[in-house]
Symmetry: C2
Subunit: 786 residues, 2 copies
């Protein structure tokens, strides 16, 4: 070789290597690598960036503030911003607590806050403005790293690098300290998300030995009676410690006299309990902590600890979390842009955080009756935000997680067994019924799963529990609903009489369909009839569903754009009137035909609703509003798909593209409203795949248009279902044609069994709407009065 060629060859080689490595890194990128847990942590998404396993009970995450519920005896609106404990705009971290909600409509949790510090021992957090007044520390997002099952940040006030990972019931902390003889771990058992005086009912804390602490915390708050037991193990013995009660007990005379409290006293109990553990550390010395939790006992927590992480290998736990996340996330593989992959896999990640595995490794859990039960041959789940999740998150799980769905149903049935009311959960939160929101939406979740062929639970009991729940007259206006055929607003304290009527009617339809499938025609007839109850609130003069009193008078003044005082919750008549997923055709007929439905939908998506109207709807980001359509709240989530019951399915395709691209992003504020334990993201996943479960309880998914080039669902039965979006581009968002397994598909829905049988759904997309595809009534999705 001639020498003068050498540099040139070198140059080429370097280029080839770079190119290969770029390809390689792209090829080697797994779904895990696309998840960005920071998405949704800014503004109203209410997600948390910390470390967790799929459906893990421990969700270990930094809390950046915990504003009190009340300020000067008035409700403090800031409390809601912190319902997941973290706000991206904050500049300080209080510490790392072990339980979080993935964006709920109410805040709570934040149990067992741990904070590593250096210097003076401080037991109070201090304020964001003056972090040096407490144990909290400044931090920079530059030092932050968040992945599924891993979180890292530098606590700059202390020069400590904090890293977190987790197994199902155990949070694993790794703190890299500077050289100091003044290193501390602070344990704040007074810290709470949704924080107020009196929230902590009782705390019990023990030093078992110089590397092990146990205890429990009993709180009220959103839950009425929540017990969390824990075991905290340190990798290195603490040299001294203090268990502190910051509140004076009325009578502990003998106690205080007999054993000196404070430094090195091994047990304490009370309401305002803090602790510190002291260490000497060399430069870069790592102190590791494992925190196991249990609803049962400290013994249960120790079992969880020893069973899940019987070692001190942080990287191993992090790797196990990574590998499990990849297994779960890989159930859908997509071809799409890097940005789309980030949005998609983060959304998928967010659908796999709630409900959580509530039972201990040995099956023990604290039941609704406050007794200890054993989940025999199943995993007991808790945190069911059913008003949100019956819509899309649970249906998504029926495709991706059928065996978990069976266990979730078993969990709801044990709730039913343990309930003093003997009904299914409304909002299940640890060992509590929170009664949050309206409806009895456990039934659509169960009926949907049953209709879709999920088995492995006691079907007869599930059916009985569903019927019992729908007939439980003490529940939320149900007595009057049964008596009047609607919930009269004058007899209702909750002022959600119209919402309730609509939701009950839909839920009743799921009972009916379940009964029909069970061959219980008597029950089916009774509930198909109740499913028509929405008609009792149809106001011919306004064409809307409108609250009515017990004498038959319509609510006045009526404003279809307003929420407050209109008998609706988190929605207005314009949007909520369409919450008749079981009978779109029936409502269409009331409106006077498909054209009128289409006009109403057009009105929703194009007219402007004054901000002061939807502000009352709570819980939404301005970005979650499209015309008068409010995506930030759940009652409207199916509305974009309703054009499929009109002559213009193409408008669904247009709107879905608009929502997907305008409302969801890969930024920290990339969610259009509260994540609501996975519902906001589940909407995205379905919509990106090209279909949506408008009416859970049917086996149908209503077609929109895919938003990714190609997707493969790897089903648990070993089959795959492939979705191809041929020609997809910024402008090509309309369906030109659809085929299923090579055969043209003219109807605007596919069925669950078509997915589960495996196959290929091919969309040809175009920049021109196909105004004839699936426009005939026979091609419309299910409607009960069809």
């Amino acid at each position: 070789m001639m020498d003068y060629l050498k540099p040139f060859l070198f140059f080429i080689c370097v280029h080839i290597l770079c190119f290969a490595s770029a390809i390689l890194s792209d090829v080697l990128k797994t779904p895990f690598d696309y998840v960005d847990p920071m998405i949704g942590t800014n503004h109203m998404g209410h997600t948390f960036p910390g470390a967790t396993m799929p459906f893990g009970m421990v969700q270990l995450s930094p809390d950046t503030d915990n504003p009190p519920f009340f300020l000067n005896d008035k409700y403090n609106p800031k409390v809601y911003e912190y319902c997941a404990g973290y706000q991206y705009s904050d500049e300080t971290i209080l510490g790392f607590s072990h339980t979080h909600f993935n964006g709920t409509g109410h805040s709570d949790l934040g149990d067992i806050l741990i904070m590593p510090t250096v210097g003076e021992i401080q037991l109070d957090p201090g304020t964001a403005a003056e972090p040096e007044q407490g144990y909290r520390s400044r931090f920079s997002h530059n030092s932050e790293e968040a992945q599924p099952g891993y979180y890292k940040v530098k606590l700059s006030d202390y020069d400590i690098v904090a890293e977190l990972t987790a197994s199902r019931h155990v949070g694993f902390h790794r703190y890299t300290f500077p050289e100091t003889n003044d290193a501390h771990i602070i344990l704040d058992l007074d810290h709470s998300i949704y924080n107020y005086d009196g929230k902590v009912i009782w705390v019990f804390l023990r030093r078992e030995n110089d590397t092990l602490i146990t205890g429990y915390r009993q709180t009220k708050g959103w839950a009425r009676t929540r017990y969390l037991y824990f075991a905290i193990e340190f990798s290195k013995p603490f040299s001294s410690y203090g268990l502190i009660n910051q509140e004076k007990e009325l009578y502990r005379g003998f106690w205080d006299r007999a054993v000196k409290q404070g430094e090195n006293c091994p047990e304490i109990a009370g309401k305002k309990i803090k602790a510190y553990f002291n260490f000497d550390t060399t430069k870069d010395e790592q102190v590791k902590i494992k925190v196991a939790i249990s609803s049962v006992s400290t013994e249960g927590a120790l079992k969880n600890l020893h069973s899940e992480i019987p070692h001190w290998d942080f990287e191993k736990v992090r790797e196990e979390a990574k590998s499990e996340w990849n297994r779960e996330l890989s159930k859908i593989q997509i071809e799409a842009s890097e940005k789309e992959k980030t949005i998609f896999y983060t959304a998928l990640y967010h659908t796999l955080l709630n409900p959580v595995e509530y039972s201990d490794v040995d099956g023990g859990y604290r039941g609704l009756d406050q007794n200890i039960h054993n989940a025999e041959n199943y995993t007991k789940y808790s945190i069911f935000s059913l008003w949100d999740t019956y819509r899309a998150q649970h249906p998504l799980l029926t495709i991706l997680q059928p065996s978990r769905v069976a266990d979730m149903i078993k969990s709801m049935l044990s709730h039913y067994d343990e309930s003093a009311h003997k009904i299914l959960p409304i909002w299940s939160f640890h060992s509590n019924e929170d009664w949050c929101m309206t409806g009895y939406h456990a039934i659509p979740v169960i009926a949907d799963a049953y209709i879709k062929g999920i088995r492995g639970f006691d079907i007869e009991k599930a059916f009985k529990a569903s019927v019992d729940s729908a007939l439980y007259e003490k529940y939320s206006g149900l007595e009057n609903y049964i008596k009047y055929g609607y919930v009269p607003f004058d007899l209702e304290f909750g002022q959600n009489s119209a919402s309730k009527t609509l939701e009950y009617a839909y839920d009743d339809w799921t009972v009916a369909n379940f009964a029909k499938a069970m061959g219980r025609n008597d029950i089916a007839d009774q509930f198909f009839k109740r499913a028509q109850n929405y008609r009792n609130l149809y106001d011919e003069s306004t064409k809307f569903i409108r609250a009515k009193d017990s004498k038959g008078n319509w609510l006045e003044p009526f404003d279809p754009l307003k929420t407050a005082g209109q008998g609706y919750i988190e929605g207005n008549a314009l949007n909520y009137s369409l919450h008749i997923p079981q009978d779109i055709k029936g409502y269409t007929d009331l409106l006077g035909g498909e054209k009128n439905l289409e006009d109403m939908l057009d009105q929703i998506f194009t007219s402007e609703t004054p901000e002061e109207s939807y502000e009352e709807s709570e819980d939404i980001d301005k970005r979650g509003v499209l015309g008068s359509y409010i995506h930030g709240n759940e009652p409207s989530h199916h509305i974009p798909y309703l054009y499929n019951w009109t002559g213009s399915p193409w408008k669904t395709q247009e709107i879905v593209r608009k929502i997907v691209t305008e409302m969801y992003s890969d930024e920290t504020d990339g969610l259009p409203g509260n994540e609501d334990t996975g519902q906001m993201s589940a909407w995205y996943i379905f919509s990106a795949l090209g279909f949506y479960p408008v009416c859970p309880g049917t086996d149908q998914y209503v077609i929109g248009a895919p938003q990714v080039k190609r997707a493969v669902i790897n089903l648990s039965n070993g089959k795959t279902f492939e979705i191809v979006a041929d020609g997809i581009s910024e402008s090509n968002k309309y369906i030109k044609s659809v085929s299923l397994n090579g055969k043209p598909l003219d109807r605007s829905y596919i069925t669950h069994s078509e997915i589960m049988n495996g196959g290929k759904l091919t969309f040809i997309l175009s920049d021109e709407p196909n105004k004839t595809w699936a426009t005939q009534e026979k091609d419309h999705p299910y409607s009960m009065t069809e």
Copy 2:
């Protein structure tokens, strides 16, 4: 027969019958019939008159008031009067609660108050002055009947006859109602003995069905964290009910909206929880209620309920209680006057109430670590008031209840296992260490049992636990005690430095004697040395034990009659200086010989102590004072027997007779001070039999003189030990001679094995003291420096 004889014969027959029946009733009278649970309910005895089984966890009794702990922010001295819930002088009853202390030095319990009423539903008790303002009722002692395991009273405001009986874990109520459609059972879960705002931490209450209620109550108070679960079953379905939270919860918005609270709502939780249950009753209709309790769970309570009383036969349960009481009480049979029998068997009854069987029927119990444990093959006992009971109550149980004593030791060892401090109990109260009073007196109880041959517990562990407890430096001045050889008053918060020094020294001797018996001479030497620590506080100038500071200065000003500020608790230097039961000889030598000891004893029994001095000793009745001897408190209980270490044992005989006849009676105020969970009565039993365990941990009982004509102890090994008091009369109180199994006994003590081997101890009593009997030093009881 001639007719005129008939009336005469009839007259004779009637007379014979009457006479026979009188003889018969006397012959048929059992120990049970002599027990009068009303004794001690008046003034300072602090006993309760209600229904219980021997050592039963349920002690179901009327509460006549529950004065608040604080009145206008100041300690309310009336609270202590009600430590057993009942004061004889009261004229109203609040209701019937299920747990009581048999006269403790602090008040608590009173769980689950039930009251039957007629008329308007009232959920607050009202006041004694205006009972009609609340649910309480007037009553008359004429309508009252109290027997072991049975209590009856007429609630005159409601014309209801209330009857109570009990099994170990279940209280059984029988209420005879008038005809009414307005009958109620009131359940007050805010009621407490030792009552204050904030005492109730949490209550959870459920209606399971129309005859079953379950729930739990979590309280602080004297206990730090006490959980009591319950199941309440009604013999008749209630027609309607209300579970009421009298406190507004800060946040229960969804709750209140979802399910109508109040009438017929089946679940409630909070702090101030009451309930009512409504019935229609016909004339004299009986509504029966069974209330089972458990420290574990409502499931545990239900197990206890179904296992112990699976029926509604009140009389059967009452009979079972009677028969079990007779079995226990018949372990000592006596010949004595009716009055003496009443005093004796009531005292014996009072020694068999505490500690209580804390574990459920299946062995489950809540441990000190707040986890649920299983008492495998033993019964877990709780409520150990050891500062009181190590003296005579536990020694009495070593004779009468050896297998229970083994279980009590096992219970203390599980306490040790579950303790964060890893020491034996000080004052064990349910799942709590109350740290009440001074000393580590679990050790004398264990050592005494071991020395007396009781087995069936883990001896090695018991020994280790004893040593660990005596070496636990964090406990109550022990670090300084070990360092200085006494507790210096300047380093002590508790101001009980002299009491502590004396009690630790005695307890140390029991460790030493235990070690010696175990062949652990190293430990024995160490603790025999510590047992001499009382010498470090012997003040040659005053001849008393006197508090000293860490520099060796005596406490000034010194007053041997005062308690407060003198380094003593519940006693003064005059009495407390003799709390050296392990080494009376050693102290005698310090005093300068037996004569000086005798003089000191004479001074105690004959000099007058000003009332304002012993008032500070707390807890005593004026009747419990003899000269300067204070029988109302425990530290002096052995003093009457100390003449046996002098040349005048006859003075013991004289003093014991004086105390027995002057301080104990068959009246409602028949106790000379607080019953202290059986110690006050155990003193009586021993003294009536003629001997007393001056120094538990030796196998010796020091002889006084019998106070009953004849007594037979039926031992669990099938043998009997008989005590005969030949010639006993009002004047014949002095020993003329003593023989054991026919052989003269010249020493002033008998041993445990002499009792357990069976035999006959015969006293010849005289009205003249025998001034030579057992006067030689060789006949004196044990002293370590002998």
